[in-house]
């Protein structure tokens, strides 16, 4: 196409057809109007797109856009009026169908019209800020059809009726419903809301209000919850099938309010089937359901938690103040553990491990465990029982489980120092009598306590273990050097206890039998030979002895007895009959111990190697004791020792408590001094608060006691009171 020489470029007159005919606009419009009619009458196939497009294009180009636009509005409106009439004429069930069909047709027509009028949409409309064709089509539909009085109310009624029918179990045409709601949404969210959603929610609220009232009168809690859950799921499903997704949260809200929130309290408290019953009967599924449903409602979970908590507290309180229960400490603690297990299981299986419930459970336990001041002692006794025999034959993992459970209870204790005291005592007994089931288990527990409370808590306990080991070595050395000397004499086994580590005992001695004294002296010399500067004192209240005894008909038995019991029995080698007073005089055993000792020797069936006159249950100062040569037992070895740890008697308990209080005083004082040294000046209330904070991991200090300690410190010139303010204290360096 290239030319040899370039021609000057000439601008020609505009070659487009110039409008000469004044009726041009009217003619062109008529063509388009006719086309729109044909489109609505499903006759488009006879039309040429290009021709119509060109006509519309030309109208706009020649400044007849306004005429085109208003013509469009008029024509479309009149068609929609016809359509509206035909919809109104539809009978009953066909109404929705007809509406849906006409809507689909209108959409299609609208698209085709928009396409041929595309040029106007692109240019004229933005310039004049008019509504674009597609939107115009929707708006007209909305105004002429949907908001036509007859149609609007009928539409709403039918839609709601369908929902009602479906709720009562009928099957409805969900696809049709979907198309209709989608139509409303396409017309604008407010159209959907005003024409349908608003009323849907109102009607649903009424429906569920009534239904829930019916249910609550006729169902028990579990059944009711099942029904509520079913309805809730139904609604969610309904939304997914034929409503707008944004309606979901609104309708679920309605169900939650009417079915759950309104009846929350009544459900929980329902007699024979409410929350407490479910807990007692371990209805995990029902509890889980209740949790899930109540979670949806504000303060639903709080209600469950509160009711559960007060029930746990009451149960716990009952358990801890029931004198029958308290007679058997081991069983008592097991009950506590069972209780905890039960609730743990509920929280895990039904309450989704909800932390707030865990916390409520923990605080309840903490509350009632400390209601009884003997809890620390009992827990220690439980441990003692386990470590003595309860854990025999148990796998290592299971041992750990049990110990962890014990630690869990330990954490709840406010008076951890009391526990420490008892634990030490019980441990000492276990170690000395060699009655521990597993050394590993003992050590494992010590480690756990150390992790929980720090090394100071356990350093003395570890000292006890060390002493035991050292004593073994010492005994080896002793036998090696003196083995030959012993011959037929008694075999001695000694445990050397470092005073600070072991529970403080009042030094009580008794008179050991002559046969024993010799070997004891030998040991003392041996030991002090290698450890100068130390002092040894025999703890006669803690030892054991194995005696070979021969009875009347020559039966031989080996008796395992305590040291005291040995002292008493040896006397009967030289006499068949002795009075209480005589025994007391010779042995010099302390009274209460002696009475206990004699009781175990004379009054216990199967172990009565002595006879008592009179044959009463208790030991009186005037009693007489005889060797029981008629004693029999089917066992060769008989254990008569009273070394096992036992629940303290009341007076013993008082004594221990007193000692604990005494021990606390210096701890409180140390805390006060520490605080004052750092702060220099502090008022009374703050000191009390700080001291409590510092010591609460061991025990809860009594404010009265704190006050007394402060006063004591003032007397000893560690602190002084401020001259002006009596409540202010100052540290004295």
């Amino acid at each position: 196409m290239s030319s040899q020489k370039k021609k000057a470029f000439q601008i020609e007159a505009f070659k487009h057809r110039v409008v000469v005919d004044p009726k041009y606009a009217e003619k062109t419009w008529k063509i388009l109007e006719h086309a729109i009619h044909e489109i609505y009458n499903h006759n488009a196939s006879g039309l040429s797109f290009e021709e119509l497009y060109r006509n519309a294009y030309n109208m706009v180009l020649h400044k007849f856009g306004e005429k085109l636009y208003s013509g469009l509005v008029t024509t479309m409106t009149s068609h929609l009026k016809e359509i509206s009439n035909s919809i109104e004429a539809a009978q009953g069930g066909l109404f929705l169908d007809e509406l849906n069909r006409k809507w689909a047709e209108h959409n299609k027509a609208l698209q085709m019209i928009r396409d041929i009028l595309m040029y106007m949409d692109r240019t004229f409309i933005p310039n004049t800020h008019k509504t674009p064709v597609h939107e115009l089509g929707l708006n007209l539909w909305r105004d002429v059809v949907i908001h036509s009085h007859a149609i609007q109310s009928r539409l709403q009624a039918i839609l709601l009726e369908n929902v009602r029918r479906e709720r009562s179990g009928e099957v409805i045409d969900r696809g049709l419903m979907r198309s209709i709601t989608k139509m409303l949404m396409d017309l604008g969210p407010s159209v959907y809301q005003d024409n349908f959603e608003k009323h849907f929610l109102e009607v649903s609220a009424d429906f569920y209000r009534l239904e829930s009232q019916e249910f609550i009168e006729s169902c028990d809690c579990g059944e009711y919850l099942k029904k509520a859950e079913r309805r809730l799921n139904e609604e969610i499903e309904r939304v997914s099938h034929y409503l707008d997704t944004r309606s979901e949260v609104k309708i679920t809200n309605v169900v939650e309010t009417e079915m759950i929130e309104s009846h929350m309290h009544r459900l929980v408290q329902m007699e024979n089937s409410g929350l407490i019953n479910m807990i007692v009967d371990e209805k995990y599924e029902d509890l889980g359901r209740m949790y899930c449903l109540f979670r949806r409602v504000s303060s639903g979970l709080v209600l469950i938690r509160d009711v559960m908590t007060s029930y746990i507290r009451d149960t716990g309180k009952q358990l801890l103040t029931d004198p029958e229960r308290l007679k058997d400490p081991v069983d008592f603690v097991q009950q506590l553990l069972d209780l905890k297990d039960k609730y743990d299981k509920i929280i895990t299986s039904a309450f989704r491990n909800d932390k707030t419930f865990q916390n409520a459970l923990n605080s309840s336990f903490e509350y009632f465990i400390n209601l009884n001041s003997r809890s620390p002692e009992f827990i220690s006794l439980f441990v003692d029982d386990k470590l003595r025999k309860g854990l025999r034959g148990v796998t290592e993992e299971d041992v750990e489980l049990v110990l962890d459970k014990v630690m869990m209870l330990f954490r709840y204790l406010q008076e951890k120092d009391v526990f420490e005291k008892y634990y030490k005592q019980h441990l000492a007994k276990r170690l000395l009598s060699g009655k521990s089931v597993s050394d590993d288990a003992e050590r494992s527990l010590i480690v756990k306590l150390k992790t929980e409370c720090g090394y100071q808590f356990t350093s003395k306990l570890e000292g006890m273990f060390t002493d035991m080991k050292t004593s073994q070595d010492t005994m080896q050395g002793f036998h090696a050097s003196h083995g030959s000397d012993i011959g037929d004499g008694p075999m001695l086994s000694v445990q050397v206890l470092t005073t600070g580590s072991w529970p403080t005992q009042l030094i009580t001695t008794c008179n050991l039998p002559a046969e024993i004294l010799g070997i004891c002296e030998k040991f003392r010399n041996y030991y002090l030979g290698t450890h100068t500067g130390r002092r040894l004192s025999w703890q006669t209240n803690m030892g054991t002895a194995d005696l070979k005894a021969t009875f009347g008909k020559g039966q031989k038995h080996e008796l395992n007895v305590s040291t005291y019991q040995m002292c008493v029995l040896m006397l009967f080698n030289d006499a068949d009959r002795l009075s209480y007073k005589e025994i007391e005089q010779v042995t010099e055993i302390p009274t209460s111990d002696l009475k206990r000792c004699l009781q175990s020797l004379a009054c216990v069936k199967g172990k009565n190697v002595l006879r008592k006159e009179p044959m009463s249950k208790d030991i009186a100062d005037t009693d007489t004791f005889l060797f029981n040569d008629k004693y029999t037992s089917k066992f060769f070895k008989v254990k008569i020792g009273t070394v096992a740890a036992q629940r303290e008697s009341e007076p013993e308990n008082q004594e221990t408590r007193q000692r604990v209080e005494e021990d606390r005083k210096p701890q409180i004082e140390a805390a006060i001094v520490r605080i004052m040294k750092a702060r220099r000046v502090l008022d009374h209330n703050n000191i009390v608060a700080e001291v409590t904070k510092q010591l609460q991991s061991r025990f809860l200090p009594n404010p009265v006691v704190i006050k007394k300690r402060i006063e004591s410190l003032i007397e000893r010139e560690f602190l002084e009171r401020d001259k002006g303010d009596r409540k202010l204290y100052r540290y004295l360096a």
Binding site: F9, E50, Y53, A104, M118
Partner: protein, 107 residues
Amino acid sequence: MKRKDTVKLISTDEMEFVIDKDAAMVSQTIRNMLTSPGPIDNWVFLGGFAETELGEVTFPEISAVILEKICQYFYWALQYSRGKETEFHIEPELTLELMMAANYLHT
């Protein structure tokens, strides 16, 4: 018979141009024309325009030269969109008519 993926554009002087549908749809107007709504829901068929049925469009107001140039433009646009960046040469004499046609065809 004509392949389904081509269309025929006819100019005012009855010259025919057979091009691929892809190329034709570079024009929004032709695109609309050809993607006319089809049957809905299996029970209503409003029918598209005549053009859709036959696969031909007549432009009584566009000449063959311009129409051919436009077809060439369509192909050039396709190549450009695939990454081949060359120039599209327009003879100066054609410019005005070409622009008008382009406006008309929404290209």
